[in-house]
């Protein structure tokens, strides 16, 4: 298969034109074709959550999404979460303060999930956070600190 297709993607508020094979995933489009490597490839089969991005505000696994499927939709990745002036998103700041990561590889996916988890209204208790963050694996074992960070950011968002 060598045919290429032209895809228009809106990522973090910027427009991108790509000439890629139709089988290219959103994850590989971001990482290999656009140099946006903040979104991580942990399993490439929808099992670990490291590639979580937002498509039209919903959490989506970029490894199970073809780039072409995201055409015309608004994509947010970890690179687009902080303010233009570099001010961290409340979830990012909470992750740093609570030491909610070690190796950092699952972290962008955790943070993207956490932002959505709070927005979805599923950060009401520690148990609820654990459940709604369970799709993002962390082998370093930062889970209790991730819960603390999500709780902190959720409380800041509510206040």
């Amino acid at each position: 298969m060598t045919s290429r297709t032209s895809i228009h993607l809106t990522i973090n508020g910027h427009d991108h034109e790509l000439e890629v094979e139709p089988r290219v995933t959103l994850l590989d489009a971001l990482r290999d074709h656009l140099g946006l490597t903040g979104t991580k490839k942990g399993c490439d089969q929808g099992q670990c959550g490291a590639c979580t991005v937002h498509v039209d505000g919903q959490r989506v696994l970029a490894c199970l999404t073809l780039a072409a499927q995201a055409q015309g939709r608004s994509i947010t990745t970890i690179e687009g979460l902080a303010e233009q002036d570099g001010t961290l998103h409340a979830v990012q700041a909470a992750f740093l303060e609570q030491d909610a990561f070690q190796c950092g590889y699952c972290t962008p996916g955790q943070i993207m999930s956490a932002v959505a988890c709070i927005r979805e209204g599923h950060a009401g208790s520690d148990d609820e956070i654990r459940e709604y963050m369970a799709g993002n694996l962390c082998r370093c074992g930062a889970y209790p600190h991730i819960v603390a960070a999500v709780r902190q950011a959720a409380m800041e968002a509510a206040s």
Binding site: D99, Q102, C138
Partner: protein, 773 residues
């Protein structure tokens, strides 16, 4: 790429833990947030295989679908003809490589090495590779490679009837007294078998690399726990000087023992890059991470304890077996905790390895100590019930006041303190001793305790410390940070030693062009590298003060050396009666743009060969019982489980662990590592198991949906308590190991808690529901 322009935020300037008398965040012992954190939480941190190179091509591996036999033929025609394909590599067209020195420093046999196999010894072995212009093209073409085999009978795993009893490993034998006779004569005897399955490191970042040749210079971007060791392997494979190979590994997405060596796929990628004359990226797929290198070997142990009626151990007889591959050797030292945790006048431990059709197993968090503790820490719990005393009390009755094996005093052993602090915080005194005596509705509640330990592995290290014209400081080392906090603690060490704020220190790691470093494994890095940076920074400070006093242009000219201090980046006389100038101003006034010092902890008369050996093998590591002391870190885990009486599901509901890692260089980060170890231990106890298809010798759950690791929803709050004191015999700044320790003892604490909850003793990990109903 590894520079962090970080500024410490006021919120981080909290005091450190009590063991350091309240260190400031930017000093050793302070709770500085990780300095590489902002890069990681914004997506700016570029991991090794994320480098964007012009002309990059993509390699995909083809693996054997049988576990034993021989490749009869490989039909590459369809793959060759597929769009975008640049090369199909097989043993027939592979470059001839040399066999490399192993990590122990063993000289290699003079035979060629081919990373693509004709003789198949395990399922998932690399047999071919396809390189194409795009990743998608390489994946598609790899599926077109047709391999036919002559199959041979498979030895699937340890329980295969064909596996046999294995090969005795004499180096693992430890004996004193007459253990067999003392056991036979003991009034109380227990004996049981404890098994652990194949377990996998499963770091979130899969392995892989980008290889690029420029003439006979090779650059490899690869996640690595050991840049110099891996650079040596690549150099020897390809017959180029060590200096010609550059390893780059700025961040590592988890290793847990699995990223210390160059593996066959690395040779494939570097070979392809050489043959094609362009850079090649090879990303190991998640399923391939289960066979491209080895996880923890499956183990079997029997532990026999003979004791008197008061529960004092008279004899320990221990026999262990671990699996290894058909053509490789891995010994998982199963008697390592058994021989030191409790005092006993009679002891015997022996071990065999059994060859099965598997990839050669490897290191996974606390290799040896982890399964060893599962045996002895379950066994002593069984003994406690047998003699009718509390499981915590029996551990104190058998407390080893010195190393029972080495017969040397402990450097420090805060295990009694760990038991006391953990029990107090957990509320152990409220435990009802009888199994099945605590419940909450349908849930049976169990409380279990177990201890853990890990030796202090020491080695020599080096580092470069530079004071720049603007007064900022650079630290360089080819050691790495895979999440333990190396960037942070080395900044703290340099800051404290030089008297500058930590946010004026930039730490550069993960490039083999920097000062050399040995392996990051066995919890040795922090102790080695803080010592090396302390030494280099002290030398730089001496130069700075020397310059201030000797240079006629300096405002401190002709003062005595010991009359000057550097604090907060300013040089002054402590009496406060002289000049007080920033470092940058002093350097400017004496016309210097930098001060640079290299510090190493090698013996002064070391030869270049010894230095090379020190950083590229582990042959010069210092034994933990060298000299007058036996050095270990220690811990005690107190764990509550809830077992559903009808369904047998086990949930860990509470964990309190007290740990002795000596002095903590950064308690905030050390606590995270401890908890990470405990969480991996929870997964090991309840979830993790590589399942072998007995017909084909294949791991069937080779992915993250079927090989279960703990998720957020599996983990309760975890309380960790530091009971360590500075240990001057273990490291220059008084720390002992952190990263490996936390997992040791978790699985037995959970197994013991499950017994307390249910009255059922599960001796085979993981403790899954079918074993309880």
């Amino acid at each position: 790429m590894t520079v962090h322009e970080l500024r410490t935020r006021p919120a981080d300037s909290k005091r450190g833990d009590a063991s350091d008398g309240g260190a400031l965040a930017g000093q050793v012992g302070g709770r500085l947030s990780r300095v590489d954190g902002p890069a990681k939480i914004t997506g700016a941190a570029k991991y090794a295989v994320e480098q964007q190179l012009d002309g990059l091509s993509h390699a995909v591996l083809v693996e054997s679908t049988i576990a034993a036999g021989r490749v009869r033929s490989i039909d590459t025609a369809a793959a060759q003809a597929a769009p975008g394909v640049l090369k199909v590599l097989t043993p027939d067209n592979a470059l001839r490589l040399n066999t490399a020195t192993d990590w122990l420093g063993t000289p290699p046999p003079d035979v060629p090495y081919c990373p693509l196999a004709r003789d198949i010894t395990f399922s998932g072995q690399h047999v071919a590779a396809v390189v194409a212009e795009s990743f998608e093209q390489a994946v598609a073409a790899a599926a077109l490679v047709k391999v036919s085999y002559d199959e041979a009978p498979v030895i699937a795993d340890l329980s295969d009837a064909k596996a046999g009893d294995g090969i005795p490993v004499d180096a693992m034998t430890k004996e004193w007294g007459d253990a067999e006779a003392a056991f036979a004569a003991a009034p109380v005897r227990i004996c049981a078998a404890y098994n652990t399955p194949r377990e996998y490191q499963a770091p979130m970042e899969p392995h892989g690399l980008i290889a690029q040749w420029q003439g006979d210079q090779l650059t490899v971007w690869e996640p690595s726990q050991w840049l110099d060791g891996m650079a040596r392997t690549y150099a020897e494979w390809f017959g180029v000087p060590f200096e010609n190979v550059r390893l780059v590994s700025p961040y590592i997405g988890g290793g847990f023992g699995s990223k210390a060596f160059a593996y066959g796929y690395g040779a494939v990628a570097a070979m392809a890059a050489k043959m094609l004359g362009r850079p090649v990226k090879l990303a190991v797929t998640r399923p391939q991470t289960f066979t491209a290198y080895g996880g923890r070997a499956a183990t079997r142990q029997t532990v026999a304890l003979g004791a008197n009626a008061e529960g004092q151990i008279q004899s320990i007889v221990h026999r262990g077996v671990n699996e290894t591959s058909v053509d490789g050797m891995w010994v998982e030292p199963l008697g390592s905790v058994t021989s030191i945790m409790y005092a006993t006048p009679n002891f015997s431990s022996r071990q065999n390895v059994v060859r099965v059709n598997s990839v050669v197993p490897g290191a996974l968090r606390a290799p040896g100590e982890n399964p060893s503790a599962f045996g002895i820490e379950c066994a002593i719990d069984e003994l406690a019930y047998e003699v009718g005393i509390d499981p915590l009390e029996i551990r104190l009755r058998n407390y080893a006041e010195q190393d029972p094996e080495a017969k040397k005093p402990w450097s420090t052993r805060q295990l009694r303190e760990a038991f006391a602090a953990g029990a107090e915080a957990f509320g152990w005194s409220k435990r009802s001793p009888e199994p099945r005596s605590m419940r909450d509705g349908n849930q049976l509640i169990g409380w279990g305790v177990a201890a853990g330990t890990y030796p202090v592995r020491r080695a020599y290290g080096e580092a470069v410390v530079r004071i720049l014209a603007d007064g900022s400081v650079e630290v360089e080392s080819s050691s790495i940070d895979m999440g333990q906090g190396t960037y942070t603690i080395l900044a703290q060490t340099a800051a404290e030693t030089l008297g500058v704020p930590a946010d004026n220190v930039v730490v550069k790691l993960g490039d083999s062009r920097y000062a050399r470093a040995g392996v990051t494994g066995g919890s040795r890095l922090a102790g080695v590298m803080t010592g090396a940076v302390h030494k280099a920074a002290t030398a730089a400070l001496d130069q700075l003060v020397g310059l201030a006093i000797s240079d006629p242009r300096s405002p401190f000219h002709a003062l005595q050396p010991n009359t000057l201090v550097v604090t907060e980046g300013r040089i002054s006389s402590p009496r406060g009666d002289g000049p007080d100038v920033p470092i940058a101003e002093l350097l400017g006034s004496v016309g210097r743009d930098r001060i640079e010092a290299k510090g190493d902890t090698m013996p002064a008369n070391s030869t270049p060969e010894e230095r090379y050996k020190n950083y590229t093998t582990i042959a010069m590591a210092l034994p933990h019982t060298e000299g007058d002391y036996s050095r270990h870190s220690w811990c005690a885990h107190f764990i509550e489980v809830r077992v559903d009486e009808d369904f047998g599901t086990v949930r860990v509901s509470r964990v309190v662990s007290a740990l002795d890692s000596g002095r903590l260089y950064n308690p905030k980060l050390a606590e995270s590592q401890w908890k990470g170890g405990i969480i991996m231990g929870i997964g090991q106890a309840l979830l993790e198991e590589g399942i072998v298809d007995r017909r084909h010798g294949r791991i069937v759950n080779n992915n993250l949906a079927d090989y279960l690791i703990a998720t957020n929803a599996d983990i309760p709050d975890i309380e960790v308590i530091s009971v360590g004191i500075p240990d001057p015999h273990s490291s220059a700044l008084g720390g002992k190991g952190v990263g490996e320790l936390g997992i040791v003892g978790v699985a037995p604490a959970i197994a013991n808690a499950v017994f307390h909850a249910t009255g059922m003793r599960v001796r085979d990990l993981p403790i899954t529901l079918e074993k309880l109903i």
